[in-house]
């Protein structure tokens, strides 16, 4: 991809694609706007990164955008067939409660950009890994595949290119390596996190509850600070919630919607393209889905849904597979042998260390913990006490799926630390709070859904 026009067209195409996929129902315009805001940054920035990467890989730049156009057109067709008016959509009646997460999201976006004026270059990992990769992609151009093997492994060039490639493409477009481009690309995802939480909770609960839940998620200091420092864990948490959330909404027989199936696929596919941690989470969620999916659905319905899911996730997975199979720097977490893996797994000391570190991180009495998680911690304690007080949780199919997805994610991240080949204390101290951030919105949303009742469908 060599021209400014092509870069701009791909970005706009991605945004329009997102809006087109999500806004095909008969919802009020406010709801359609909400749905557009929720997904447009993902499709816009995501497609830009994929097409830039494919342009480098294919070597014939014009083919990359062409492939993306064809794929995304196919996605629109996929989502638009059999589009139905679901009972959930009739409840999304354009409530003004949406203004709460919108105002908080806009306020935080502004705050993030103001913070960037002071410290706009990002944190240490952003400089050494993410922005380094972006600079490398931008400067090396078509030489990228040839130069890749010579890079210092300390820069973790095995990390996926969702953000680096999208930033490189925009730098190419504006003609300089502008920090503003990096900052706005990251800040772009704050508001969609709020609207995503709102949309998923509102699909099963009232707009009021959805609005307050999204406020709590947005007001988690870790989400703002790591995003402003240009780490991508907050962005991964957005994709994780979107992937698991839209899959969960498919559990209700009356509420199956091809639009949501396509959206779930896009979010799930984006997870591993944003960060390596998305790969195990993708397998966990897909495994959980297909295990429970086999029950209560005809093979025809099952096949249709699966195809939508797979095809839409392939938009991002194609790039990931090409990246991982052609330039496969070894991930330091899987560099260890089989023997040490099982040795670590059976070491009680390692389990105790990891669980202790999680306990310290999430202990509300710990001042550092409060400053990172604040409202999220308070909400978690509230939900736990409330759930225990009533002695049972109300398990509908959506809540159950999200609950299992949360447990699997938490368990997965504990195991990762137990088997890490890195020095365990160093690894925990440098990354655990960011791994908690990756699954925090998912856990909170599932907690809120578990502790509240499902309203009866609106018959108005």
């Amino acid at each position: 991809m060599t021209s400014i026009a092509v870069t701009t067209v791909v970005l706009l195409w991605g945004v329009v694609l997102g809006a087109r996929i999500r806004c095909m129902s008969t919802d009020p315009w406010t709801t359609q706007l909400l749905k557009g805001v929720t997904i447009c940054p993902l499709t816009g920035v995501g497609l830009l990164s994929v097409s830039w990467f494919l342009g480098l890989f294919v070597g014939a730049p014009i083919w990359a955008p062409a492939i993306m156009f064809a794929l995304s057109y196919f996605l629109i067709r996929l989502a638009s067939t059999e589009s139905i008016q679901s009972p959930r959509e009739s409840r999304n009646n354009g409530s003004l409660w949406i203004l709460l997460p919108v105002f908080i999201g806009l306020g935080l976006t502004l705050t993030s950009m103001l913070l960037d004026q002071e410290h706009g270059e990002g944190g240490a990992d952003a400089m050494a890994i993410w922005n380094y990769a972006a600079r490398f992609l931008h400067r090396s151009g078509s030489q990228y595949p040839n130069l890749m093997p010579f890079l210092d492994p300390s820069h973790h060039m095995d990390y996926p290119l969702f953000f680096p490639a999208a930033i490189a493409a925009q730098w190419h477009c504006v003609g300089e390596e502008s920090w503003f481009v990096v900052q706005w690309t990251h800040a772009l995802f704050i508001l969609p996190m709020g609207t995503l939480v709102y949309e998923i909770v509102h699909a099963r609960r009232s707009a009021c509850l959805a609005a307050w839940t999204s406020a709590v998620v947005l007001l988690t200091p870790s989400l703002l600070i790591w995003g402003q420092r240009q780490y991508v864990d907050g962005h991964l948490s957005y994709a994780v919630l979107g992937g698991a959330g839209f899959l969960a909404l498919q559990r209700d027989k009356k509420d199956r919607n091809p639009i949501d199936a396509t959206t779930a696929g896009l979010f799930l596919g984006a997870m591993p393209w944003i960060k390596n941690e998305g790969i195990p989470l993708l397998f966990l969620f897909a495994g959980l889905h297909f295990l429970t999916e086999l029950k209560g659905r005809s093979w025809r319905e099952h096949l249709g849904f699966t195809l939508r899911l797979v095809f839409s996730s392939m938009v991002f997975l194609i790039a990931l597979i090409l990246f991982k199979t052609n330039w496969p720097p070894t991930n330091d977490l899987i560099a260890n042998g089989k023997d040490s893996f099982f040795d670590y797994l059976s070491s009680w000391d390692r389990w105790r260390t990891v669980l202790g570190a999680y306990g310290t991180e999430l202990n509300p009495a710990n001042e550092l913990s409060r400053s990172r998680w604040a409202a999220a911690l308070l909400l978690a304690v509230i939900l736990l006490i409330d759930g225990l007080r009533r002695r049972f949780w109300r398990l509908d199919s959506t809540s159950a799926f999200l609950m299992f997805a949360s447990f699997l994610s938490i368990g997965g991240w504990i195991v990762v630390y137990v088997v890490t080949p890195q020095e365990i204390h160093w690894h925990l101290s440098t990354s655990m709070n960011r791994l908690v951030l990756q699954i925090m919105p998912l856990c909170l949303v599932s907690g809120v859904l578990l502790c509240t009742r499902t309203p009866k469908p609106n018959t108005d």
């Binding site: 400089m127 050494a128 009742r453």
Partner: protein
Amino acid sequence: MTDQDQKNENPLVLGLLIIATVFGLLQMFQTVKAEFSRPTPHWANPYFDDLAKHLEQEDSVIFMTDEEGFKDANGRIHTCQYAIIPTKLDVKTDWPSAFKKLDSGSWCICDAAFASSIDDAERKIRTWSQKDGRILTFKRFGDKLALFRSLPPKKDKSK
């Protein structure tokens, strides 16, 4: 929200969600305030542009700094492209190995990351150069930055 929705909501959870939001807002306010008052890093230096001009014709520059890097007068950060970053390692034991990488004779920009002050940094660089008989070009820019190049001794062809 319909009346039916409101009746079916768990009022306790809703009320506590609002409390959690207010608590979150207060914590967020404190966090942002702390971020804004984070001191300007030591590398902010108006002399950097002079350095940059001097180095425009060089193919590569080694930045001898810590993970914070250098920031020029326009707010641009210059770090990881060529930086020697002693993250995750003991700085005291890592700097000697960093010095070894300077054998190429590239121009280097340094701050006091590996010393107690820029004077101390200059002293260390001179000691290191003299030890091997290297030819040192050293120029100070203000009280925080220095530019230097240390070339290997020329071989005596008469021998």
